[in-house]
C-alpha cells in the first residue's frame, strides 16, 4: 500500500464512515429489524453449540476483505519498548484458538458439570458490542464508534493502533496489527503502531439486509438476533422455563451480546482458558458509570459558579454603597 493510496484511503474512509451512519438507517429484514432505532442484540445459547467452528469460518470468509495487508519491513519503533504485533504471516493468519486481527471470533471450550454429568461445552466469543462501549467513548480519534443499531466498529482507515481500546475493554477484545493504517503516513516511528481489529457484527451485511455471517452459517442456530428488548425477554423466558443463566444483560452496564448457559458463569469462567485474545466471563461493572455521574455534576458547576459570583458582586456592591454612605 503506497502512502498516496493510504491518504486516498483515509478520505474514502471518511466517506464510508458517513455512509455507515446512513447505512445503519437502511431498513432491515424482520429477523434483524430494529424498532424505532432500537439496538440490535444477539442471544447465544451455549447449550446448542457443538464447537464445529462453522461461525469462525463464515466470519473469516465474509470479512476477509477487511483484514490487514501490512507493509513490510515495519517502521523501526521508538522507543524500543513499543512492540510489533504481527499476525500477517501464514501461521498467524491461521490462528483460530484466540482473537487476532485475522480471527474476530473464536470458540472457547470448558468442561463443567451439567445435571450431575461432566460435560464439555463450547461457545463462540467475540466483541460484546456494549451499550455504552468504553472503546468508542475513550478512543481519542473517533476511530472506534458505536452505530445507532448497537454495533461498535473500529474504522481501520482512522485507527492509529495505540491499543487504548484494548486496554479499556473489559474483555480485551480488539487486536493489533502493526504495519498498516494511517500512522504510516504521519509519524510511523514515534506515534501509533498499526490498526486495531475486532468483530463489527457484519455491519455492512446488516446494512444490506443480510444476517451476520456467524448467525447465518451456524448449523445449530446457536445465535439469534433482534431488537434488544425482545432478546432480553427471550433470555428471561429461558431463565424462567429452563433454569439457564444470563451473561451480558447487565455486564459493563449492558451489552448487545447475551449468553445463556446451563451453568453459572463463575463455573464457566473457572473452566475456560484465559489469556490474550481469550475473553473471560468475569462479572464486569459499568466502566463508564463514574464518568456518567460526573457528567451530571457538570450541569451543576456553572450554577454554583453563578451563585458564588452573584454573592460576591452583591457583597462588593453593598460595601461600595456603605462606603459611599459613610463618605456623604
Amino acid at each position: 500500500m503506497s502512502k498516496q493510496i493510504s491518504r486516498r484511503s483515509f478520505l474514502k474512509g471518511s466517506l464510508v464512515a458517513a455512509c455507515a451512519t446512513c447505512a445503519s438507517q437502511v431498513p432491515l429484514p424482520a429477523s434483524a429489524k430494529s424498532k424505532s432505532g432500537q439496538e440490535l442484540a444477539t442471544l447465544i445459547d451455549i447449550r446448542k453449540c457443538i464447537g464445529c467452528e462453522a461461525c469462525v469460518e463464515a466470519c473469516r470468509e465474509v470479512n476477509d476483505f477487511k483484514y490487514p495487508e501490512p507493509e513490510k519491513p515495519f517502521p523501526k519503533m521508538y522507543p524500543n519498548r513499543v512492540k510489533v504485533a504481527d499476525w500477517s504471516d501464514e501461521e498467524g493468519r491461521e490462528v483460530r484458538d484466540r482473537l487476532t486481527p485475522y480471527n474476530w471470533l473464536t470458540i472457547q471450550w470448558a468442561t463443567v458439570e451439567v445435571d450431575g454429568e461432566e460435560t464439555e461445552v463450547s461457545f463462540p466469543r467475540r466483541c460484546m458490542h456494549c451499550q455504552n462501549p468504553p472503546c468508542a467513548d475513550l478512543c481519542p480519534w473517533g476511530a472506534a464508534r458505536k452505530l445507532e443499531n448497537g454495533i461498535t466498529v473500529i474504522h481501520s482507515d482512522i485507527c492509529l493502533g495505540g491499543k487504548k481500546c484494548q486496554v479499556v475493554c473489559p474483555w480485551d477484545i480488539p487486536q493489533r496489527q502493526t504495519g498498516v493504517g494511517i500512522y504510516l503516513d504521519i509519524l510511523p516511528s514515534l506515534a501509533g503502531n498499526g490498526v486495531m481489529y475486532k468483530c463489527d457484527r457484519c455491519y455492512n451485511r446488516i446494512a444490506e439486509g443480510e444476517m451476520p455471517a456467524c448467525i447465518e452459517e451456524c448449523p445449530e442456530d446457536v445465535q439469534i438476533i433482534g431488537p434488544r428488548d425482545e432478546i432480553v425477554r427471550e433470555a428471561h423466558r429461558l431463565v424462567e422455563e429452563e433454569g439457564v443463566y444470563i451473561y451480558g444483560e447487565t455486564e459493563n452496564g449492558g451489552t448487545n451480546t447475551l449468553y445463556v448457559s446451563p451453568v453459572p458463569y463463575e463455573t464457566l469462567n473457572e473452566a475456560i482458558s484465559k489469556g490474550p485474545g481469550q475473553p473471560s466471563f468475569d462479572q464486569v461493572e459499568d466502566q463508564m458509570a463514574h464518568a456518567d455521574n460526573l457528567a451530571k455534576a457538570m450541569l451543576i458547576a456553572p450554577l454554583a459558579g453563578l451563585a458564588a459570583a452573584v454573592g460576591r458582586v452583591y457583597k462588593a456592591s453593598k460595601k461600595l454603597g456603605d462606603n459611599t454612605g459613610e463618605a456623604s
Binding site: Q131, N132, V167, V168, A291, L294, A301, G305, A309
Partner: protein
Amino acid sequence: MTSEATPNAFSELTYFKPVYLFLLFVLGLTGFGQMPIFKRYYIADIPGLGWLADFYATHYIHYIGAIVIFGFFVYAAVIYWGLMRRRFQLTGAAYIRIAILALITITGIFRVLKNLPDVVFSPLFTMVIDISHLAFMMFLMIFGILFMVLKKGWLVEK
C-alpha cells in the same frame, strides 16, 4: 488571568491567574493522557506519575477538572461583568482566548454527551469533535505562548 493595570481593588486579580493556569495544566495533562503516549514515552514510569497511564483515572480527573473550570468560567464572567468592567476592559488577546476556550468547551460538552449511554452521534461528527477538541487545545497553547511573549494580558485599565 493577568492584568495590565495595577491590581489593587479586586482580590480576583491576584488569584484568577494561578487558578486558571492550574486548571488548564490539569486539563491539558489529563487530556493528552487520553492518548496512549505517557506509557510509551516512559513518563508514567516516573515515580508518582503511574496514574498517567491509567486511562480511566485520567478520564475522571479530566471530568473533575472540567466541572471546576465550568464553575470558574461562569464565576469569572460574572465578576468581570458585575464588578470589573467599570474599571477594566478586555484586550484583543482576551477575546481570542475566550473564543478558543469557548470552542474547547463546546467540543468538550459534545464529547461528554457522546460518552453518555443512549447518546449516539454519527461517526463523522464523533471524529470531528474528538479531533477538534484536541486541535483547539493546541491552538490555545500556541496563542498562550504567543501572548506571553508579547505580554498581552486579559485586562487593560480604561
